[in-house]
């Protein structure tokens, strides 16, 4: 069948909650070991986001303090001026012009103690006109007037002072702005480093946590019973370990890295705005609900359409994959045109849906932008009007505009993060479902210590079913003396493979017992079973490791022992011809080997482990006569001196066994040696006879 490239997410829905406290609690369990890194990351994040928040404020300070250092004249009784001066918020904010007049720095009006600003507004007179303030000795009559120690230049007349003179008399401002710029650069450096530190530490913490989840999940799946594997296709399990854990990782890197930061930025911005001017802040935040609403609407729309796009793309890919795999059939049947027509249709469908997606983007993205701009306009209008009335400084207005514009991005990002959260929650639920599955076949707590067996096997009245109501084995009893062999013969589905599976404790019996050396298989240690039995399955499974490691598996056999095993099944000849002999690393599933060669390696594997009990599911595949003979001889070598249970297809194998069980529909119908069964003239005899009757 064609490889449908995208089958892995077929069963992965991402509907559902974006946050589930139970799941998150369990997830946190995996994060806890790395909490130091997380705290470090949070610390870095705090630094980098505060710097980010601080920067517009620094600019505001620069403008208000140095670039536009403006004063207004306040007149009142000397006593009132005196008492007001004592309340000066910061050095240089209030300057005595004369005993009954104070200069008040315009920028300091902003965010001033309400008590002080009440005194100012209710007391004397605050002139609207604004002045730059220079020392009186620099006065050269270009503009402005001298009053006391100061030379007052009206703001609008500043241009009349020659630039070089301005630079020298405003030396303090120049030094101030330079200092500020240097501070700004310093903060920037800190912010870059903190930003880097934040991302790095979080990713490291996230990756390590996911590593833990992944290995635990894999190890857990390995311990589960075969029943679990027969219910869950391999592809699905692979998806759990790979893609689902990846979804968690995505949540970690995308959400935790940015979501918390975005949230902090928005909260910080709102706080700063409220502190700067709570009325203006509230008014400029008025578009936020609209903005958030449209963002969420947009995300919802894109999500549904994105799912459709993915579906169509998967279809497009699977169509082309199918037609590439089946190209010979298409050419022979001259179906090029018809298949092409079909592909073009799928291609066109994909085009249409992606255009639809484009239109959704085309409408919503600009719309979201418009709402953000309306927010800016509101700040501009209200802030502008307040600035005219003097309630807001220019620097504050500029800062306000930057803050409001900065605020929209994290909000629109946050709605995107929700989707990631949702799929991560779904993934973690699937992962935990597996982790909560208990293995059905377990070692009993009072199992015997690992033993060396003699190899006596007995089934006593064994019943077994995979599912309720469909018994697979009924009342199976037989026994094999050490070193003897038994052949299982019968049609597909008769229950031969189930007997083998029970022998290896892939499953446990429903009733009856299986005895090894007289002890119930369930009372033996798992190690006893593994150390004394070897199984060769019909499907010769080769791992993508070296040939030697394929034979060795987990045992620590020496190279000589491996080679001897290969020798005995006559596999050395072809193995030595491989590019690196026994060290040749196999392709996935041993793709470069022939079926017969793979079988020989599996035989060598079984032989190398020198089991007391051999379990063999004989393969039926067509191999050429030479290999066929090799395999036949290998089977003979394997069986020699071992207790053997064989699902046999070759007559030569069957004849060699000490006892033959003819099985059908889960029952033993006939038993005996080859000669006995022939003499019985039953089912076996008929099988045997038929073959002679047909050949001639």
């Amino acid at each position: 069948m064609p490889p449908h490239g995208n089958s892995s997410f077929a069963d992965d829905t991402i509907e559902g909650k974006g946050y589930d406290s139970k799941l998150v609690k369990r997830l946190l369990h995996y994060v806890r070991p790395h909490r130091r890194l997380i705290f470090l990351a949070m610390f870095f994040m705090l630094i980098s986001s505060s710097v980010e928040l601080l920067l517009p404020y620094v600019t505001k300070q620069g403008i208000d303090k140095y670039l536009a250092r403006l004063y207004q004249v306040y007149t009142d009784t000397p006593a009132a001026c005196d008492s007001l001066f004592n309340l000066e918020p910061a050095e240089g904010d209030f300057v005595f012009l004369s005993p009954d007049s104070l200069l008040i720095r315009k920028a300091s009006m902003d965010g001033m103690d309400p008590a002080v600003s009440y005194l100012i507004s209710s007391g004397g007179h605050l002139a609207q006109e604004t002045y730059y303030l220079f020392p009186a000795d620099r006065y050269e009559a270009e503009t402005g007037r001298i009053q006391g120690d100061y030379w007052l230049v009206p703001e609008k007349d500043l241009g009349k002072v020659p630039p070089d003179k301005l630079m020298s008399i405003r030396g303090k401002d120049v030094a101030g702005i330079t200092r500020l710029a240097l501070v700004f650069m310093g903060l920037l450096l800190v912010s870059i480093l903190a930003g880097y530190g934040h991302v790095m530490t979080l990713v490291v913490a996230g990756q390590r946590s996911m590593y833990d989840v992944r290995t635990e999940l894999f190890n857990h799946i390995q311990t589960l019973s075969l029943n679990f594997f027969s219910k869950n296709p391999v592809g699905r399990l692979v998806t759990r370990v790979s893609n689902d854990v990846e979804a968690l990782n995505e949540m970690f890197s995308a959400v935790l890295v940015n979501l918390v930061k975005d949230f902090l930025l928005v909260a910080g911005t709102i706080t700063i705005l409220l502190l700067m001017d709570w009325k203006l802040a509230l008014i400029s935040l008025s578009v936020l609900p609209v903005f958030t609403f449209i963002s969420i609407l947009f995300r919802r729309k894109t999500r549904t359409i994105y799912r459709k796009v993915r579906k169509h793309l998967a279809e497009l890919n699977s169509t082309i994959a199918e037609d590439i795999s089946g190209v010979k059939v298409i050419q022979i049947f001259r179906q090029e045109k018809a298949r092409k027509q079909q592909y073009l249709e799928v291609n066109d469908n994909y085009y249409k849906i992606s255009m639809k997606q484009l239109y959704v983007f085309g409408v919503f993205r600009p719309l979201i932008e418009v709402v953000a701009q309306v927010g800016t306009a509101i700040v501009l209008i209200y802030g502008g009007l307040s600035a005219i009335s003097g309630a807001l400084t220019i620097g504050a207005l500029v800062a306000f505009i930057s803050y409001v514009r900065q605020m929209f991005r994290p909000i629109s990002d946050m709605s995107e993060k929700y989707n990631i959260m949702q799929s991560a929650m779904a993934s973690s639920e699937r992962i935990f479902n597996i982790l909560d599955t208990e293995p059905e076949v377990t070692q009993s707590p009072d199992a015997l210590p690992p033993l060396k067996l003699k190899g006596e096997v007995a089934f006593e009245k064994v019943d077994f079913r995979y599912e309720e109501d469909t018994p697979v084995l009924r009342d199976i009893s037989f026994s094999i003396a050490p070193g003897k062999s038994i052949a299982l013969v019968g049609p597909t589905g008769a229950g031969k493979s189930s007997i083998i599976s029970l022998m290896t404790r892939f499953w446990d019996v429903d009733s009856g017992r299986i005895l090894l050396d007289g002890t119930d298989i369930r009372d033996h240690s798992v190690d006893t079973l593994k150390n004394n039995t070897s199984i060769v399955l019909q499907d010769a499974f080769i791992f993508s490791r070296s040939v030697a490691d394929n034979i060795r598996l987990s045992s620590n056999l020496s190279m000589e022992e491996v080679r001897r095993a290969a020798d005995m099944v006559q596999a050395t000849e072809f193995i030595d011809k491989l590019p690196h002999g026994f060290d040749t690393v196999m392709a996935e599933r041993g793709a470069t080997l022939s079926t017969g060669q793979k079988q020989l390696i599996c035989f060598a594997r079984a032989l190398a482990h020198d089991p007391r009990i051999l379990i063999l599911d004989e393969a039926t595949s067509n191999v050429d006569p030479t290999t066929e003979q090799l395999i036949q001889r290998a089977i003979d070598t394997l069986m020699e001196g071992r207790t053997s249970i064989i699902v046999a297809h070759r007559l030569s194998t069957i004849q060699k066994c000490d006892e033959i069980l003819v099985i059908d529909a889960g029952r033993i119908l006939e038993r005996g040696t080859h000669q006995e069964l022939l003499a019985k003239r039953g089912i076996y005899y008929n099988l045997y006879l038929l073959q002679w009757g047909n050949g001639k």
Binding site: H4, I192, V199, Y211, L226, V370, G384, T620, G695
Partner: protein
């Protein structure tokens, strides 16, 4: 501006990269893009509209702030400025909509056309091309490379025009305010371009490594779970665990390696942009104090400077996208330049199904070993020929040459007296009904699979064909009968069922010659002889070519060919060949015993 997810854009795209731009591929890429010049032009106009309007925004700030600073502002001005912002925003939204539809739409059309072109070309390629090419590789071309071309056509086009216009316009606006200030503040900006170009490439490479590590992990998991029975039987869990930990560790390592660059790049680009702003604060602040620029100009300057950041990033990004697009285009072209090797011949009359092979030797193009050497035989119309031999003896190659899936040397294979190469291809292939060795069914319903080779077939005929192939009753047994879907979304058929459906499919084209390439291997001998019997009875005059491992399949043939290492070693009827003490009689002896037991005990177990 178009800065959507920068990270995503950097990472998306095809695998591999040419370190240098491949000129001819790039040219080809451009010529494909320019096919959509109308949409492109519309898009660029809209883009310039967006950018132009965007440039107005700082002017509004400047005006308002200067008016405020000079105390000349009044409420009408403030309201006017506010509404201008909204009006500009609406205008930008309008143009934004159009550039996206025009340019991205054009790139989508380009993608669609390229996919169609690539697909039809793949169909024409000869079988030998597919023998040496993996499906996965072709799929990578069909997905990644086409995506990379689309990205180069869409995003790269937009970004390059946008970057060009925005940077030129912003710089002009900056120069108009103060040229010295412009030069000084722009110092950090080219480093952004450099950073994005240089690190963008590294980022891409490392992202590839992450994906490779991830697919390594997936493969390992797949293997472990597929081999779980072996692992459990040998108690190999520990070493599997260790191997998986290695793969998972590799994933962690590669991800951290990626983050080292990615985590650094974003703050650094930001930092460089901000560095410009801090230079402005220092130098521009001085200028404001000195009175050479106004406070409003200062604010406007800072806005224009901020607008330059994106184009600087975009330039680096565009370079990478174009490189990748050109490299992908090059790879696609390489495939599309392969000429379909098998061409029509001039003879167009309908041939009789009589085959004559004279001294046929064949070597696969590009290889040394002869697969077939000096083979001669003839198949008269309406006769049955059996071909036996070991795996790799050349049986399949022989029949594929007869059908011209590969081209035989001139003067070796004759159909109705005329060299097959001289005949019209469709007339040759039209004679054959082929059941290949590896049964390939399509993800269609069973009925559609059977009628695959013909336009449409009444259900009655489909059923009749299924009866001939001894599969009818089994199909009827499925819950959806003939409408049952085959493949992933449908039923999993056994090997024998697939083979019999493929036989019905081959019969549906009313072939003159039926070729069964070991197509009865998964069917038990009884069913097999029933099928062969029915074919003989129901379809008169059918020529049969039967490739088989089993003697029982071929023993009744008029002629049996025995191939060994590409040579025709024995030739004759069943009785004649048994008389010789050769490969055939040896095979016969070996199979006699086992076949029946296998049949009785297995019944097509796979």
């Amino acid at each position: 501006m178009v800065q959507n997810s920068f990270r995503g854009c950097c990472l998306a795209g095809a695998k591999g990269r040419g370190p240098k731009l491949d000129r001819s591929s790039l040219k080809n890429l451009y010529s494909r893009i320019f096919k959509h010049k109308k949409a492109l032009l519309g898009g660029v106009v809209a883009l310039i509209g967006v950018d132009g309007l965007q440039l107005l925004v700082p002017q509004i700030f400047r005006k308002l702030i200067d008016a405020l600073a000079r105390g000349t502002a009044d409420s009408t001005l403030v309201w006017r400025m506010g509404f201008s912002i909204v009006a500009i925003a609406l205008g930008m939204a309008f143009f934004r909509f159009f550039w996206r539809i025009f340019i991205v739409g054009a790139s989508r059309r380009l993608e669609r056309d390229l996919r169609a072109e690539f697909y039809s070309h793949l169909q024409k390629l000869p079988a030998q091309y597919y023998d040496k090419t993996k499906v996965g590789d072709l799929m990578a071309h069909a997905t990644n490379d086409i995506n990379a071309v689309r990205m180069a056509a869409g995003m790269a086009t937009i970004a390059s025009f946008d970057a060009l216009f925005m940077s030129v316009a912003s710089v002009i606006m900056l120069l108009l305010i103060d040229w010295r200030l412009t030069l000084i503040t722009m110092i950090p900006l080219p480093f952004i371009t450099l950073l994005v170009t240089r690190f963008g490439r590294m980022l891409h490479d490392r992202f590839e490594s992450v994906q490779k590590a991830f697919s390594g992990l997936t493969e390992k998991t797949q293997e472990s779970f597929s081999g779980i029975r072996v692992i459990k039987a040998y108690g190999d869990e520990q070493s599997e665990r260790k191997l998986l930990s290695e793969k998972a560790g590799k994933c962690v390592h590669e991800n951290i390696r990626l983050t080292r660059i990615w985590g650094f790049m974003q703050p650094l680009v930001m930092g460089l942009a901000m560095m410009s702003s801090s230079i402005l604060l220092m130098v521009g602040g001085r200028a404001v104090i000195g009175g050479s620029i106004s406070l409003g100009q200062f604010v406007a300057f800072s806005s224009y400077l901020a607008m330059l950041t994106w184009p600087m990033m975009a330039i680096g990004w565009v370079v990478n996208l174009l490189q990748r697009g050109a490299a992908s285009m090059g790879r696609l072209e390489k495939i599309m330049n392969i000429k379909p090797a098998i061409a029509d011949g001039p003879v167009s009359d309908q041939p009789e199904p009589a085959i004559e092979v004279k001294g046929l030797s064949y070597t696969y193009p590009g290889t040394d070993a002869e697969v077939l050497s000096d083979i001669s035989f003839s198949i008269p119309a309406s006769s049955t020929v059996g071909i036996v031999g070991r795996t790799g003896s050349g049986k399949t190659t022989l029949v594929e040459l007869l059908m011209r899936l590969y081209d035989p040397p001139a003067g070796t294979v004759f159909l109705d007296g005329v060299d097959v190469r001289q005949r019209e291809l469709s007339k040759v292939r039209g004679l054959f009904g082929y059941v290949p060795q590896e049964t390939f069914l399509f993800a269609l319903s069973i009925a559609d699979n059977i009628s695959f080779g013909v336009d449409s077939l009444p259900l009655e005929t489909v059923k009749h064909l299924a009866e001939l192939a001894e599969i009818h009753s089994e199909i009827e047994g499925f819950s959806q009968g003939y409408e049952t879907m085959v493949g992933e979304r449908g039923i999993t058929l056994s090997g024998g069922q697939k083979q019999r459906i493929a036989i019905a499919r081959a019969l549906a084209v009313s072939p003159s010659i039926l070729v069964l390439d070991d197509s009865l291997s998964a069917i038990d001998t009884e069913t097999e002889s029933a099928i062969l019997e029915k074919l003989k009875k129901e379809i008169s005059g059918l020529t049969n070519i039967l490739i088989a491992h089993r003697i029982s399949t071929v023993q009744h043939a008029d002629l049996i060919l025995v191939l060994d290492h590409g040579k025709l070693v024995e030739k004759g009827t069943h009785t004649e060949l048994l008389g010789k003490d050769g490969y055939y009689s040896e095979l016969y002896r070996m199979q006699q015993l086992e076949e029946e037991v296998e049949k009785r005990t297995e019944g097509g177990d796979r």
